[in-house]
């Protein structure tokens, strides 16, 4: 018995909750997968939004004038006149009249070369490109152009693509809503899983909890132990999930995807939003886990005396 020189052992205090990494491993995996899915959903929603933005601005920055063939009139000349009138409008950058050859070329994939009789009446197009500033300001009025064309006595119709633009915007909104809903669902699932795991962990460690309780530990003290543990777990699995989500979206972007699929796939644009999202994901996962674990443990402890 060494009674003479009592010296406390060096180093810090041991962790009050025993490490149970073996038990935590499946939870780590589940949390990482959930964070991964959440990141993919967020990146997808973001991708859809960016995609829709580009498409709608493309659509809105141009419009077309359709010149209907009318007997006894020179459609080509009418198209040139229409282009002239369009050029004269404020906010129009360029107006190009497409010739009959152009119209024939457009039809050739369906009707073949040289199968069209020369006197077949064909509608012609005038492509009008708007000044981007006007588009952004939304001051260009297709109706005014239509009125001028009517005044000139042209059989012309202005199509400003707004039908298409609004359809694209609707689709983008749907994709975004879907993405955010997925995000919310995944976050809820993560919180529930962590709450479940925290309760299980509490039950598995009831000996420790009893000892702490009888030593006079407050509920907050015990809940804090679990909170710290699950915060770290959330942080780690969050980081893992976020890294994988980043890798996947880079792979998708590098690999290229068909345009119709690209709408819902996460696209890596290497912009600050993505970096911030992926950097915040582990933190958010950690916080979600911590709060969820704390609430679960505190509610369980309240049931004990």
């Amino acid at each position: 018995m060494n009674e003479a020189v009592p010296k406390p052992p060096p180093g810090g205090s041991g962790r009050l909750l025993p490490p149970d990494s073996g038990r935590d491993r499946p939870l780590f995996l589940v949390a990482a997968i959930l964070v991964f899915l959440a990141c993919i959903a967020a990146l997808g929603a973001r991708g859809a939004w960016v995609q829709a933005q580009t498409w709608t601005s493309d659509l809105e920055s141009s419009l077309t004038i359709q010149i209907r063939p009318v007997e006894e009139r020179d459609t080509d000349a009418d198209a040139r006149t229409a282009a002239e009138i369009a050029r004269g409008m404020d906010g129009v950058r360029e107006a190009t009249a497409r010739t009959r050859e152009h119209a024939v070329a457009l039809l050739s994939p369906w009707l073949g070369e040289n199968n069209l009789p020369d006197d077949l009446p064909l509608p012609l197009m005038v492509e009008v490109e708007l000044d981007p500033r006007t588009v952004r300001a939304g001051t260009f009025a297709p109706d005014a152009l239509q009125a001028r064309l009517d005044e000139a006595g042209l059989a012309a119709t202005v199509d400003d693509h707004s039908r298409w633009a609004s359809a694209v915007r609707r689709a983008a909104r749907t994709a975004q809503t879907l993405g955010l809903a997925l995000l919310a669902l995944v976050a809820g699932a993560a919180a529930a899983v962590v709450a479940f795991a925290a309760r299980a962990s509490l039950a598995a460690r009831i000996d420790v909890i009893d000892a702490l309780h009888l030593c006079g530990a407050e509920d907050g003290f015990i809940a804090g132990l679990f909170q710290r543990r699950f915060f770290m777990l959330g942080l780690k699995s969050g980081a893992t999930g976020a890294v994988f989500a980043g890798l996947v979206s880079i792979l998708v972007s590098v690999g290229g995807s068909p345009a119709d699929m690209a709408f819902f796939l996460p696209q890596w644009a290497a912009d600050p939003f993505e970096i911030i999202l992926l950097a915040l994901a582990p933190l958010l996962a950690g916080l979600t886990a911590a709060v969820s674990a704390r609430l679960a443990v505190a509610s369980d402890l309240r049931g004990r005396w």
Binding site: A4, V5, P6, P8, G12, S13, A211, C215, G216
Partner: protein, 271 residues
């Protein structure tokens, strides 16, 4: 000092008609009424299954009575707000029969646990804990983990943990069950020392030799009922008093004056 019903105006623990059952089972403790006066020392004995551990659980706030009143430091346990329990528990040290050490923590950390949960800093208590461990003969095992210790060593760790916070009440369930008689004596001296410093002590034991070594009341549980035998010195005094009374009565009778006898102490309730 006795553990007789409500003799102390301000006991640390008071039981009043306490009954206890688990779930819908039979009542295992019945009509317990006693006080643990401040600074008292008592043994608790009784056959296994008599409810000793259940009674201790009531005293260390691990169970609630099914009926009756248990009060600590003058406060009814049943109406105590939950958030005041930790503070109350810190004033009670417990040595569990099965020790309940945390196997993943070192001996030092186990003993320091009550101080740690009370929010004290390691630098504040490290010396005290080390000194206490040396005192119970574990000065060279401070970094050991409990599973590597013998039963006796674990028991001493449990005792050190129970007393490190200088509790006002110390409850020990078979604290000498796993140690040799010499260490048993040493631990008993530790308890006596604490008692001298004002700690109220309850020791549950089967060891009659231990009981005989201290002049203290003995609470005996059997069939859920509690009997309290006053300390030996009191019983002797009472016996002497009775003897004296008897002599006086005899003298009186012999003097032809029998009316004054019989107003002695009626509080002694021996079994």
């Amino acid at each position: 000092m006795t553990a007789s019903p409500h003799s102390d105006p301000e006991p640390v623990v008071r039981f009043d008609n306490v009954g206890m059952r688990y779930g819908r089972g039979p009542e295992i403790l019945r009509d317990l009424s006693f006080d643990l006066p401040r600074g008292s020392f008592q043994f608790l004995t009784g056959p296994s299954g008599a409810g000793k551990t259940s009674l201790l659980k009531l005293i260390y706030l691990s169970a609630k009575p099914s009926r009756g009143l248990v009060s600590f430091f003058g406060r009814d346990a049943a109406t105590l707000p939950r958030k005041e329990l930790p503070d109350l528990r810190r004033r009670i040290g417990v040595v569990f029969q099965e020790f309940r050490l945390l196997n993943h923590l070192s001996v030092f950390d186990n003993v320091a646990l009550p101080l740690r949960v009370a929010g004290r800093k390691r630098s504040d208590y490290a010396e005290d804990v080390a000194e206490l461990l040396a005192w119970v003969g574990l000065g060279n095992r401070m970094t050991a983990l409990p599973p590597t210790l013998s039963g006796g060593e674990q028991q001493r760790v449990a005792i050190a943990r129970a007393v490190v916070g200088q509790p006002e009440i110390l409850i020990a369930d078979e604290p000498t069950g796993n140690v040799d008689p010499e260490m048993g004596m040493r631990l008993l001296r530790l308890f006596a020392e604490l008692n001298k410093l004002g700690t109220t002590i309850v020791i549950a034991t089967h060891d009659l030799q231990l009981v005989r070594m201290v002049d203290a009341p003995v609470m005996t549980l059997s069939n859920g009922h509690l009997h309290i035998r006053p300390p030996r010195s009191q019983r002797q005094r009472e016996a002497e008093a009775r003897e004296a009374e008897g002599r006086e009565a005899l003298d009186a009778v012999s003097r032809g004056d029998a009316g004054k006898a019989g107003d002695g102490d009626t509080e002694a309730r021996d079994e």
